[in-house]
């Protein structure tokens, strides 16, 4: 059977009809000598995306039994999917259809109607050429496993597990230490209203432990993960007994591995020993939770305390976002503990971005706390040298120092990123698929990042992210529903591949592996996203990007070069 191509031009109301001469387009295309061996049906319609238009198109395709379809209309962003659905309905493979953008990229950018008409003809000819070279592609449907693995038992991991379990989803929650709760379980009180921690975090811990849908593995780490969205096979190992392993199958993996505080011994300006009364904010939180008060190593109550913000801020190159807030909170603990304690807060800039923060700060500013803005600071034991904003150098001595060290990605983030084939960004935290558009996903489909693992964040933000991931998984990974991976993937042509493995290096997704036996690269179609980078890199031209092959693009291009 020869080719029979349907070409439909949408007038888009006046949008296209008033900008090009549609009759001239039809006349020109019908008379092209090069298409004499093809059967063409060319028609126009007022508005193809309307109910009438869709019905018209459906009947036309059925009646004419087209082998290919070209629709000259708006941007594919607007109605490509509309027409793909019509193709599916009429059993025309959607990959034998092509939409030509004669609105946004033609009618609307050229004021001269003749020129625009010429341009539209060129575009349509390019697409008629291209569509003949397109091949039908079939969607593959894969079974998926709806269960989820959550790595990290801090607040972000716990909340993720709870939100998934609330819809009866099976969750495996692994935690490398012997306790759930992470750092937030150590806090005495929570911002912004100083709620008692036991009411909030401890309750969540109980909920998680008691939930039948959540299986908890303490002192456990990820050893291996292979697979793709919907079908991951993972191996867990016990941190104390590496031979104690668990194999699981899950559909999605959530990284909630949290943060650690910067080790201040790495900073030359912060010189102190174990014997000095210098503490990190987390140590103070723990001390407060256990004793209910802050005490010196001697057991006495301190009479003067300096709180130092931004420790390592400059060295790390980013703001840890939550420290100003919790340093104010610690100041309030101290104030409530005794009115005899002189409190000085040394800060550079105050980062208080949440809506409740201002109120909290103003309350404290009315108290006896001394806020000192500095340019630089150095500590040696409990002695402080600092340069104020007026460039004067000063020295003071206090009984106790409390530091707010920068937040860093938790130990093992690099290894975890490697195991899961996801990236860390330049700060060392896990990198989002897209900072703005897809901030909880990663470059690998089905692997998500939440909480402080993806960057400094406080409890409420971590909970928000956890709930977002929960929603994402509950809507994307549905029990009994099949997963349709990308169809426009790359493939390696065995005859041309010489096994140089350049493609393995450029693939962000690890979708290509090397088949030692055959000496060629092979694409794992379930992982490939179809960007075509491998194709751009292949020195032997052995890779084909389906639906974006060289012959297809070439056929489109020659029209421009006629």
């Amino acid at each position: 059977m020869g080719e029979k191509i349907g070409i439909y031009i949408c007038e888009c109301g006046p949008n296209i009809a008033n900008k090009v001469y549609i009759d001239k387009i039809i006349e020109k295309i019908s008379s092209i000598e090069a298409y004499k061996n093809k059967e063409l049906v060319i028609k126009n319609h007022k508005l193809l995306c309307s109910i009438d238009g869709k019905k018209f198109l459906e009947e036309e395709i059925k009646q004419n039994e087209f082998t290919h379809l070209v629709i000259a209309a708006c941007s594919p962003k607007d109605h490509e999917s509309t027409f793909i659905n019509i193709c599916k309905k009429t059993h025309l493979n959607p990959y034998l259809f092509r939409i030509v953008n004669i609105r946004e990229q033609c009618a609307w950018i050229i004021s001269d109607r003749d020129e625009a008409t010429e341009k539209a003809i060129q575009y349509i000819r390019g697409s008629i050429n291209r569509v003949s070279y397109q091949s039908p592609l079939e969607e593959k449907k894969l079974d998926s496993n709806p269960d989820v693995l959550v790595i990290g038992g801090g607040i972000a991991g716990i909340e993720t597990a709870l939100s998934l379990a609330s819809k009866k989803r099976k969750v495996y929650l692994i935690e490398k230490t012997s306790k759930l709760g992470g750092k937030s379980a150590k806090f005495r009180k929570l911002l912004p209203r100083q709620n008692c921690n036991t009411d909030v975090i401890q309750k969540k811990l109980l909920d998680v432990e008691e939930n039948n849908h959540i299986q908890i593995f303490k002192e456990t780490e990820l050893e291996k993960a292979i697979g793709f969205f919907g079908n991951f096979e993972v191996i867990l190992k016990n941190v104390k007994d590496n031979n104690l392993k668990t194999e699981l199958r899950v559909g999605a993996i959530i990284v909630a591995s949290g943060f650690k505080q910067l080790n201040t011994s790495e900073l030359p300006k912060y010189e102190y020993t174990q014997d000095d009364d210098v503490y990190t904010s987390l140590e103070i939180e723990e001390m407060c939770s256990q004793n209910g008060k802050v005490l010196l190593k001697s057991g006495e109550e301190p009479r003067s305390i300096a709180l130092i913000h931004c420790v390592g801020r400059e060295e790390k190159g980013y703001c840890s976002q939550i420290c100003c807030n919790y340093m104010l909170k610690i100041a309030q603990y101290l104030e409530q503990q005794s009115s005899d304690i002189k409190i000085k807060e040394f800060y550079r800039d105050l980062c208080l971005p949440n809506k409740d923060d201002q109120f909290f700060l103003e309350n404290l500013q009315n108290s006896a706390i001394d806020f000192i803005r500095i340019k630089d600071i150095e500590i040696k034991g409990n002695k402080i040298k600092y340069i104020g904003t007026d460039d004067t150098k000063k020295e003071i001595e206090v009984d106790m120092l409390i530091l707010a060290p920068a937040m860093e990605a938790e130990d093992g983030a690099t290894e975890l990123a490697e195991l899961l084939n996801i990236q860390l960004d330049e700060t060392g935290f896990f990198q989002e698929a897209h900072q703005k558009l897809n901030p909880i996903a990663t470059s690998t489909d089905g692997i998500f990042i939440v909480g402080a693992a993806r960057g400094p964040s406080g409890i409420s933000e971590s909970i928000l992210q956890a709930q977002a991931v929960g929603g994402e998984i509950l809507t994307q990974l549905i029990p009994g529903e099949k997963i349709v991976p990308e169809v426009k993937v790359s493939e390696v042509l065995e005859a041309l591949c010489k096994g140089c493995q350049t493609c393995l290096n450029v693939c962000t997704y690890g979708a290509i592996y090397f088949d030692e036996d055959r000496g060629i690269s092979v694409v794992n179609e379930a992982i490939c996203r179809g960007c075509g980078n491998c194709m751009g890199s292949c020195p032997s031209g052995a890779i084909r990007s389906k639906h974006f092959t060289n012959p297809q693009l070439y056929q489109e291009m020659v029209e421009a070069l006629r």
């Binding site: 990229q105 990198q431 962000t508 960007c531 194709m535 031209g541 020659v558």
Partner: protein, 141 residues
């Protein structure tokens, strides 16, 4: 009267940023010359340098490659690969005695309609000043 030389510029636009930027230029009714022939690709990294040479030898007066801004690639780092490939391609062009000015790589985000129109206008002017690509008639492979 002789018609003014209108260059033929093959423009590979990545689906996520530059192609959408081109759509936005249209939505804002920004005007740019008909010299541009957009060809949509999934990622600028799909643009095989050999294919660019092919376009050139086939008679394209210019080749424009549009990708997402560094750090914004939909596929993480595809555009960094493109950047390196285009840099090398320009070197190859120079070595072959061709005009590397006929290749342009631009980062145009989905929200940069005006930038897309500006790049098209500018590049068309550049190609006009370089004149017609005569390679098609002087080099045979």
């Amino acid at each position: 009267m002789e018609r003014e030389f209108l260059p033929k510029i093959v423009s590979f636009l990545c689906k996520w940023c530059s192609y959408t930027g081109a759509d936005l230029a249209g939505i804002n009714r920004l005007q740019y010359p008909t010299s541009i022939l957009p060809i949509k690709v999934m990622c600028s990294s799909r643009v095989d340098p050999v294919f660019v040479i092919k376009a050139y030898l086939r008679g394209a007066d210019g080749v424009l490659i549009g990708g997402c801004h560094p750090g914004d690639c939909h596929y993480q780092d595809g555009n960094y690969h493109t950047r390196r490939r285009v840099a090398i391609l320009k070197r190859v062009f120079e070595l072959l005695g061709l005009e590397e000015g006929r290749i342009r790589l631009s980062w145009i985000s989905a929200s940069e309609g005006p930038k897309f129109a500006r790049v098209c206008n500018e590049f068309t002017e550049v190609i006009k000043s370089l004149g017609e690509n005569t390679t098609k008639t002087t080099i045979f492979l």
